[in-house]
């Protein structure tokens, strides 16, 4: 057994190799525990109230960053051991997930992120009424996730889903671990590459779709479907059809690179898990059942599954051939029979961007980069840079493995397939974010590949230093990219109390105007109210304190009552995302009160409610 110490050292010291291994194991446990203790002790000194537009990183004490650095370096050192200890590596990954994705739940007050409250509202509607109403909201046409949430909340006897929702990022990232491990181990037998790929996944999953949401849940189901196909349904060497004679002659006319590409594309996978026909049938039934839940619970994920599965089948990477057809039929049937109420009024939303790639890129990237405060623009640029970095590293890794004759066609196709959806829809400016997420597993696998090209490569000091260096860069990038919007994403108890007060006094059918399109809204009785937001008003009207524009908004829905709620997170969002000057919302509030057309009915440091006097 090789020792981690250089040969010269081990020959000088009277230490036996197994003692060195035990010492390494002890270090592999002590360092992560030291990191979690340091991290836990440092949490009370995080003051989220002092956060700037750089996000959470602006209030993190150095000790928390040191703890994360210790854990990351310890993980890289663990990968350097001649014999990998799965429990020690898992300990590192569990702690990393907890520290990276659970920190906001521990240092902030109420569950973070506006969409969590909307999703809690859909759940509350089902809990209260026992039905769904597709005419109210698009998500009621794909209610699977909310039905499950409502059922779980009722049966655990929680008042609402929010106490559980706060831990969704940690829970989702933990359950992603299993199928990701299956996907990576179906690509390589080198466990170092598998574990480093997993580390890279958690250091680059800044996209933030793992909050309490259908898409965070459905990403797990997507990973499970892909993992089943790659593990048991790859086309083996024996099953791979030979190139027919006429086609071979036809190919002979092409240049050698084209012939090489075709041979590479159709070369069978070498790593396959043997299975009995009965097992394969059972696994297929399981896969179809899981896909049924995907179809039932999210409008977009079925298309990502379809894109990936169809690509794998077309390029003869997996069987059965009829699977994409069945999946397309299931998706089509659900859309035709169950989502009519949504489609009637929103067909343009579905088909409007078809083929408009430039529109999608503008909505997803350019519009985001150009708006907001300088710090926020820095965060957005960091996201673009970190995305380019991980994709670039993945490209290098793919070329590395290609030159070493690894047959990674399935994984390269899975990295590319999600991009096909860019022609379909801008998805309200979020399509590129989703594409990043769905292509991330193969991307991080290839990004890790240059470091572990053979079964014992990456164990040298230089390579370990390189692995640690890249991991630390990704960690640094993660802290900015993941929590860069935190000043507007975190929500205080006072804000939630303000929203509860509003729902307690506002009569049904009132218009509720939010100070901006964030904050704790719509989490209860959401079908009973109309909603609007000052984000829909031109920002110069807010800067100029134009009361008439706000009055027009209050009268626009012709409701009996109208209320304006302005909370801390809404003020932060107005400054962060639209570039409004600090204090602009406060000055508008003063102007509204001075006009006599609005009356202050609730005032706490983080939430004010104004009633429009008709």
């Amino acid at each position: 057994m090789r020792s981690v110490l250089p040969l010269r050292m081990t020959s000088l010291l009277p230490i036996k190799p197994h003692i060195v291994t035990h010492l390494s194991d002890i270090t592999g446990v002590v360092l992560p525990f030291a990191a979690i203790v340091l991290w836990s002790l440092s949490l009370p000194s995080v003051d989220v109230g002092r956060m700037t537009d750089l996000g959470l990183v602006s209030v993190l004490p150095v000790s928390i960053i040191i703890a994360l650095v210790i854990l990351t370096i310890s993980f890289c050192l663990t990968l350097r051991q001649p014999k990998l200890r799965m429990p020690i590596i898992l300990l590192h990954l569990f702690l990393l997930i907890f520290m990276l994705y659970g920190i906001t739940t521990l240092v902030e007050e109420a569950p973070r992120f506006t969409a969590v409250y909307w999703n809690a509202g859909y759940t509350e509607y089902i809990m209260r009424t026992g039905t769904v109403d597709p005419s109210l909201d698009a998500y009621f046409s794909w209610p699977g996730f909310f039905v499950l949430s409502a059922f779980v909340t009722r049966i655990t006897e929680y008042h609402d889903i929010l106490p559980l929702a706060a831990w969704a990022p940690v829970f989702f990232n933990l359950i992603y671990l299993g199928p990701l491990y299956m996907i990576f181990t179906s690509a390589t037998t080198d466990k170092r590459l598998v574990w480093l790929g997993l580390l890279f996944f958690y250091l680059t999953n800044w996209i933030g779709q793992d909050y309490f949401s259908p898409q965070g849940f459905n990403f797990f189901l997507y990973l499970v479907i892909i993992a089943i196909l790659l593990k048991w349904f790859k086309v083996t060497t024996e099953a791979q059809p030979r190139i027919p004679g006429p086609l071979r002659q036809h190919l002979g006319r092409f240049s050698p690179p084209v012939q090489g590409l075709y041979t590479w594309l159709t070369a069978p996978d070498t790593l396959c898990t043997p299975s009995q026909p009965r097992q394969r049938i059972a696994l297929l039934i399981c896969l179809v059942f899981v896909f049924a839940l995907v179809v039932f619970s999210h409008p977009l994920t079925p298309f990502f599954v379809l894109a990936s599965v169809t690509t794998l089948v077309i390029f003869r990477r997996c069987t059965p051939r009829w699977l994409p057809i069945l999946m397309a039929l299931m998706t089509g049937a659900w859309i035709i029979f169950m989502t009519q109420a949504f489609l009637v009024g929103h067909l343009y939303f579905v088909t409007g961007d078809l083929g408009q790639v430039s529109n999608t890129i503008t909505a997803n990237v350019t519009a985001r980069v150009m708006q907001g405060s300088p710090e926020h623009i820095f965060i957005v640029v960091m996201r673009v840079v970190m995305t380019a970095a991980i994709w670039g590293l993945a490209f290098v890794g793919a070329v590395f493995r290609l030159r070493r004759r690894y047959r990674d066609v399935s994984y390269i196709l899975l990295a590319i397939a999600p991009f096909s959806l860019i022609v379909a829809n801008s998805y309200d400016g979020e399509m590129l974010l989703r594409i990043y997420l769905f292509s991330l597993p193969p991307m991080v696998f290839f990004a890790a590949a240059p470091f572990y090209t053979t079964s014992n490569s990456g164990m040298s000091r230089k390579m370990t230093a390189a692995v640690a260096g890249v991991s630390l860069i990704l960690l640094g990038g993660f802290l900015f990219t993941r929590y860069g919007n935190e000043r507007m994403d975190y929500i205080t108890y006072a804000e939630v109390d303000g929203a509860h007060y509003l729902y307690s006094i506002a009569p049904p059918h009132s218009l509720l105007i939010a100070g901006w399109d964030v904050g704790p809204m719509q989490f209860q009785d959401f079908e009973k109210y109309s909603y609007a937001s000052l984000a829909d008003v031109p920002s110069n009207a807010i800067t100029a304190q134009d009361v008439n524009v706000i009055v027009q908004l209050a009268q626009s829905q012709k409701t009996s009552d109208a209320y304006l709620i302005i909370t801390r997170s809404q003020k932060a969002a107005a400054e962060l995302s639209s570039g409004l000057a600090p204090g602009a919302m406060d000055r508008l509030e003063d102007a509204l009160l001075r006009s006599g057309k609005f009356e202050l009915i609730y005032s706490k440091p983080d939430a004010q409610i104004l009633k429009y006097a008709y």
């Binding site: 089902i126 026992g130 039905t131 769904v132 209610p143 699977g144 996730f145 039905v147 499950l148 409502a150 059922f151 779980v152 009722r154 049966i155 655990t156 006897e157 929680y158 359950i175 299993g178 199928p179 491990y181 299956m182 849940f217 797990f220 189901l221 499970v224 993992a227 089943i228 593990k231 097992q279 059972a282 696994l283 399981c286 059942f289 899981v290 049924a292 839940l293 039932f296 619970s297």
Partner: protein, 123 residues
């Protein structure tokens, strides 16, 4: 790792009984969410995945989790669309699926069935 054929059926049966107790009998108990969540997220799927005989613990866990989510949501969804939304009714159906799967596993792995299968394969 040696496969213990009685372990998972026993865990599923005990989990089902525990969930039944904390939901319908001793409802005011602090550990109720943990027991119920464990049951909902693991047991219905594990009751079926064990029939696949995959021999890999990690893989069984992953499929059990995904299948449990699917069974929970689809059963609850069918009742909802049928106009019979009932969390306790849904839980009852899930308990039935879990118990049925566990009992069938015990039956298939019992010494008598093992002897029968051995005889068939010898013939």
């Amino acid at each position: 790792m040696k496969r213990l054929p009685w372990l998972w059926p026993a865990i599923i049966v005990l989990s089902t009984v525990a969930t039944c107790l904390v939901t319908f009998v001793i409802t005011d108990i602090a550990v109720r969410p943990f027991i119920v969540l464990w049951f909902l997220f693991v047991c219905p799927g594990m009751a079926l995945v064990r029939f696949f005989r995959l021999e890999e613990l990690v893989v069984e866990w992953i499929l059990a989790l995904a299948l449990s989510f699917a069974i929970d949501a689809i059963v609850a969804g069918i009742l909802l669309y049928a106009g019979r939304w009932s969390p306790t009714g849904t839980l009852g159906i899930l308990m039935g699926i879990s118990l049925g799967g566990a009992i069938l596993q015990i039956g298939l792995d019992s010494p008598i069935s093992l002897i029968r299968r051995t005889r068939v394969s010898t013939k």
